[in-house]
């Protein structure tokens, strides 16, 4: 595959290459700004658990910041970063030029317009119903949908102009994820089947799929491209990747209702969700063992390369976090963990541990190839270790605290006891969160260096040839 890529460069014009690089860096810069903003809001919220009067007033009240944090992380940071990476991966792995840089820029403007309008309106108190991850008003979500459609179109045409008969696995995940998410965004916004309990069924589907059929496939697509490239060896098993693709597609959409166990949703719907949550072990273990087997025997190379270490953490989080998700779906464990902070720990282990680490691994691996500018090793080290240790403290404290919270309820203690018992764990969460936030500031510095920093080479294409000739 890498031979394809290298060979292809010779027939691509310098101008096409430059436009792909500028699209890629524009997406990364934009995503980075959203990351710093969204996690800054997260830190402010973490402080509020210990000091509820900190940041008083309507605009900074917890209930308005919470959806701002989640939506800005999802649709500002993660979506924009993954689409930027997807354009680069799709074009390079297909040996084709990006179909339309203008369309990609329109998409970026639409993504940002939606995220800005959503953030401002949420802070003014315009929330579409406290429905998780679709709190933006319906017309703002339509802007996001338009951005998705533009992206899907651009990606499909790019891949259709590939230079070989085969479509590389990354593009299966990238194009699939983008198209499926167009459906998710559509069913989430259409109101006709969303009254009362009907809307609960839709919420279960939406909140689950918006994460697992959008961010996960794109992140996997990025790993399927980046990992072989960094290790300079093919993926362990192409067939296993294809198998994981189809099983993930069939199992994952069925399990959304496990977010509403013990609710008045029909019991069969909940049970079906639990059964397929177990089935999800198939694509999760299939996918992660495929990655781990690709890395086998290369521990020393892994330790030398921060991009690889980011991806390694992403893969391990995929394995551990998703397996934890399966366990959490069992009724016996939901009885204790449901509605506690354990869930918040899980969502950070997955969204942060899998998605954010895969994004960072992808950016550190591919952006220097595109721009010819390198981030400093110390910068990457600081980012990696602060993010990893911070996330570990965050997840560990909320998992332990959440378990205690759930047991307090099971033991029939007065409710306020569970609030009191969480206090020290909230403090530790704040410590972990602060480290994570600091690491993002360092990441922003690294992005600046990769886009505008020193170490410029005459032509990005030249540097690509040099870098990729090795690969």
């Amino acid at each position: 595959m890498s031979t394809n890529v290298t060979a292809q460069h010779s027939i691509l014009s310098d101008k096409d290459d430059r436009s792909l690089v500028s699209v890629f860096s524009a997406y990364v810069v934009s995503a980075t700004l959203w990351l710093v903003f969204a996690t800054g809001v997260g830190i402010l919220m973490a402080f509020k658990f210990g000091a509820p009067e900190f940041g008083a007033g309507a605009w900074l009240t917890f209930g308005r910041l919470r959806p701002i944090h989640t939506n800005a992380t999802f649709y500002g940071f993660a979506s924009i970063a993954l689409v930027g990476l997807a354009y680069y991966v799709a074009a390079r792995s297909s040996g084709a030029k990006l179909y339309s840089a203008a369309l990609a820029r329109i998409g970026l403007v639409l993504f940002n317009a939606a995220a800005i309008a959503g953030t401002v309106s949420l802070d003014l108190g315009y929330n579409d119903g406290d429905l998780e991850y679709r709190e933006w008003l319906w017309w703002i979500r339509l802007i996001f949908l338009a951005a998705l459609v533009v992206t899907a179109w651009n990606l499909i045409v790019t891949v259709s102009r590939r230079n070989s008969a085969d479509i590389y696995l990354s593009n299966w995940y990238i194009i699939g994820g983008t198209l499926w998410t167009c459906i998710i965004a559509t069913v989430g916004v259409v109101p006709w089947f969303q009254y009362g309990l009907g809307q609960v069924a839709v919420s279960g589907f939406y909140m689950h799929n918006a994460v697992g059929m959008w961010f996960t496939p794109l992140a996997l697509g990025v790993i399927y491209y980046t990992l072989p490239k960094l290790l300079n060896r093919p993926i362990y098993s192409y067939a296993l990747g294809v198998f994981a693709f189809w099983t993930n597609l069939v199992f994952y959409p069925i399990i959304g209702s496990h977010h509403f166990e013990f609710s008045p949703l029909p019991w069969w719907l909940q049970t079906t969700a639990i059964v397929f949550s177990v089935a999800m072990l198939v694509p999760v273990w299939g996918g992660s063992s495929n990655f781990l087997l690709t890395m086998r025997g290369r521990t020393r190379d892994m330790m030398q390369s921060y991009p690889l270490m980011f991806i390694f953490v992403g893969v391990m989080s995929y394995l551990i976090g998703s397996t934890q998700g399966t366990l959490e779906a069992f009724r016996s464990l939901q009885e204790v963990w449901h509605l506690t902070n354990f869930t918040v720990g899980h969502s950070h282990m997955t969204m942060y541990g899998i998605i954010a680490f895969a994004i960072w691994g992808g950016i550190y691996a591919l952006l220097p190839l595109a721009t010819g500018r390198q981030p400093g090793r110390l910068g990457m080290a600081l980012h990696f270790w602060m993010a990893l240790v911070g996330c570990f403290i965050y997840v560990a404290s909320l998992s332990i605290g959440g378990t205690i919270q759930g047991l307090d309820w099971v033991h029939g203690l007065p409710f306020i006891q569970s609030v009191v018992d969480m206090q020290s764990y909230y403090v530790w969460r704040g410590v972990g969160g602060s480290l994570m936030f600091l690491s993002h500031i360092v990441f922003a510095w690294n992005v600046w260096r990769m886009c505008y920093g020193p170490g410029a080479v005459p032509s990005p294409l030249e540097s690509l040839r040099r870098e990729e000739a090795v690969a």
């Binding site: 309507a58 108190g125 119903g129 998710i184 609960v200 029909p266 918040v344 409710f415 306020i416």
Partner: protein
Amino acid sequence: MNKLVLIAGGSTLVYAGLALMMCVLPGIELSNVPAGPGVEPLTALESEGREVYVANGCSYCHTQQVRPLNQDKVFGRPSTAGDYKYQTPELLGSERTGPDLTNIGARQPSSVWQYIHLYNPRAVVPESIMPSFGWLFDVVDRAPAGVTPVPLPKAYAPARGAVVPTHRAEALIAYLASLKQTPLPGAEGAASGGQAMAGPTTTATASAGATSPAGGYDAAKGAALFTANCSACHQANGEGLPGAFPSLKNDAVVDKDDATKHIQVVLQGLHDAKVSGVVYSSVMPPFAATLSDAEIADIVDYERSSWGNHGKPVDAAQVAAERAKGK
């Protein structure tokens, strides 16, 4: 090109089919669940209050779903499909940082408490980490005619002036007051039977099956029950809040040998009561339906033996007798 059609088109078709099966069809089916008996649409003011609830993200910390689990019995009977007929957007929530509010209108009927708590939760629950919603209130020199200022404890009141709720706060409190579960007919036992039965089970869970010895009084259990059911208003020190909730310390009813009135108040609740010469406009909820005889005896004994009170202790049999009389 054909391969692209297969992968992009094929997988999208599969996905669309699954979205139809797992999202759209259940959505259509469940949108048409009829209202449960007694479940009514909200009034205009209550709907407005619900919008305030949504706009400020109350449901990120408060659920509105009572699960059919022991630990949820304190919040009411298990929620049923018919309860949600008029609840769009749905506010079931995914986190319970604060307590469930499905039945809060019945569990805390006092709007005075709700206003104080909304203005600053720590004024009534010192350990609370809920944000203050002072910006839903106005501070005025003098409350206009017909408006009762919120009787805040001195430590939490502004230095000067009276605190009165804005229209948005009034709507929100009206909405919270409307959150009352309707009794389920039939199998679960008559009327509030479902709730009455909840009591003993909760106790069994709470103290691992240790039934209190006849005539004895379990101080730890009494304290826990007081914290869970009473201290939000009467406070942990039993002194209540001046002008809002009466003190139980040296109270004529509590600190007295004859416990009849004391037991009756806990069973039946109280409103517009005159206590030690002060009339309290706040409403105390009845506990007959939610607590067992033994639990009420524990609470009553805890109150009669705490804060310097020396009332004569009672036992479950006395509570049972009062319960029978009270109907």
